[in-house]
């Protein structure tokens, strides 16, 4: 029997996690011009994520796509730029993925969860 945690999912970002299959990057600084990177650095056991975005990370399904200049397609209230949210958050997806100069430590679901099955999790017994 399978169940789906669809109520908890933000489809776009699961896609990001799955696609990367390794280090997934979301942190960025709204004061810097992000440069794409392939990973983070280790600082005292914590992986410090550089500013930037994964090369193959699509924007979240419910967000605006910035153009080459970083414009958020006419929405002046905010948008995803290089993988992180800039502007006031109106939902959890935006707040959880807001640009930050903070550090974070990824957990790789695909590599570490044998029962992950692309997010189609079995029901709790």
């Amino acid at each position: 029997m399978k169940t789906n945690l669809s109520a908890l999912k933000i489809v776009g970002f699961l896609a990001v996690t799955s696609a990367l299959g390794g280090l997934a990057l979301v942190a960025c600084s709204d004061s810097d011009n992000p440069t794409p990177t392939d990973g983070g650095t280790i600082d005292g056991g914590i992986i410090v994520i550089d500013t930037g975005t994964p090369k193959d990370a699509p924007p979240a399904a419910d967000t605006l796509v910035p153009d080459a200049s970083g414009d958020t397609s006419g929405d002046t209230s905010g948008g995803f730029v290089n993988g992180c949210w800039v502007g006031p958050a109106t939902n959890s997806n935006q707040a959880l993925n807001a640009c930050t100069d903070g550090t974070c430590t990824p957990f790789n679901n695909v590599q570490r969860l044998p029962l992950y099955n692309n997010g189609n999790l079995p029901a709790v017994p």
């Binding site: 109520a7 997806n93 903070g102």
Partner: protein
């Protein structure tokens, strides 16, 4: 084999319970010496804050003595108020210096006073009565306290530093069968029960039914710390507790960065594992937090309470009526909590949607400047 190991775990929990009550005297005997005692019941998640409040009130003139029983889990607090229960069981109380003592009201004691207030992290709706959300009667007020976080914890010696929602789903929902290495020993997976705020929150965040958590029930946040830190195999041990309680024990346990669904990286409640700034709670990167709830019988007029001493307690707990000379923001920070005025995001209800927030009287600068917790 599993049954035998389970018995060992249960014995450890039992011994923790016994040691917590060792030396307790009858409240009957000590009450004459206590000034304006008020009895509360609820969760152990916020015990550090309750202690700070109690210490401040013990220093007022006239003083109020706060006695608090957190041995039964969060939901037992409002249940007791709703049922009009008298004080029963072991109560902690604190003197002017913050020194803790305990006393016990024997169940059914005719002279026991009524429970006057309750406290917990979750809303009343997450406490289930016969499987249904509990509804608070109109006679009981539900007021908002500072923000408290929930931490997934491992021993300090563990090599693990992060966990995702999905991993927590498998660890706590399946135990060993979830196949999440290194958390493969059901006797080293430390849980709570369906009366516990921290378990109710992790259940809501992960989708694991609150009654189906695998592992050993530690009974309190503090016992969860104890069982996790004492694990013979540190890498295999995992549990959860309020961030307040976890931070009081950073020498022995560490909080894992939590990566919620929709995030591709996990965050600590703070900016680092040595900071106490609650940066990632305050800016919305850390998902597991809530404003705590206080419950008490309403007074005759709006915003008042039936018991004037409870009113003083709630005035301080909520920051709405703080005694002169008390640095409330530092009091909150010292406990590991965050006043609403220092939050940059907010949410409505248990783990509700996050949104940007600016308080009408912001206090982020004061919160950042406050000394807070002093690490020895």
């Amino acid at each position: 084999m599993m049954a035998k190991l389970g018995a060992v775990g249960a014995a450890s929990v039992l011994s923790l319970g016994i040691s917590a009550q060792a030396g307790a005297v009858e409240c009957n005997a000590v009450e004459p010496a206590l000034v304006n005692p008020i009895y509360g019941l609820g969760g152990s998640a916020t015990r550090p804050y309750i202690k700070e409040l109690a210490t401040v009130l013990a220093n007022q003139t006239p003083a109020v003595t706060v006695l608090y029983n957190d041995s039964g889990g969060a939901c037992t607090g409002p249940y007791a108020l709703i049922q009009g229960d008298k004080a029963s069981g072991s109560f902690r109380y604190w003197d002017k210096t913050g020194k803790e003592s305990t006393c016990t009201w024997t169940a059914g004691s005719a002279s026991a006073p009524p429970v006057a207030f309750a406290n917990m992290g979750n809303s009343i709706g997450l406490c289930k009565t016969n499987g249904q959300a509990t509804v608070l009667p109109q006679t009981i007020a539900d007021v908002e306290g500072p923000v408290v976080g929930v931490s997934v914890i491992v021993p300090k010696a563990s090599s693990e530093n992060s966990i995702s929602t999905e991993a927590a789903y498998f660890v706590f929902g399946f135990g060993k069968a979830g196949q999440v290495s290194p958390w493969l020993d059901d006797n080293l997976i430390i849980r709570r029960n369906e009366n516990s705020f921290v378990q109710l929150f992790l259940a809501k965040a992960t989708g694991v039914p609150e009654t189906k958590f695998k592992g050993i029930d530690a009974k309190t946040n503090q016992a969860s710390i104890q069982l996790v830190k004492d694990a013979a195999t540190p890498n295999a041990a995992i549990g959860f507790a309020s961030s307040d309680v976890a931070d009081d024990n950073r020498a022995s346990v560490k909080t894992l960065a939590y990566q919620h669904i929709g995030q591709s990286c996990g965050y600590l409640p703070d900016s680092s594992n040595t900071a106490f700034d609650r940066k990632n709670i305050r800016d919305g990167h850390y998902y597991l937090w809530t404003a705590q709830h206080y419950f008490a019988f309403k007074g005759a007029t709006a915003g008042t309470y039936a018991d004037p001493n409870v009113e003083k307690f709630l005035g301080l707990a909520t920051g709405k009526a703080v005694p002169q000379g008390v640095d409330w923001i530092n009091l909150v920070k010292k406990s590991g909590e965050v006043p609403r005025c220092a939050m940059k995001v907010w949410r409505d209800g248990d783990l509700g949607e996050l949104y940007s927030y600016q308080d009408p009287s912001p206090c982020s600068a004061a919160y950042d400047a406050a000394p807070g917790k002093v690490v020895q």
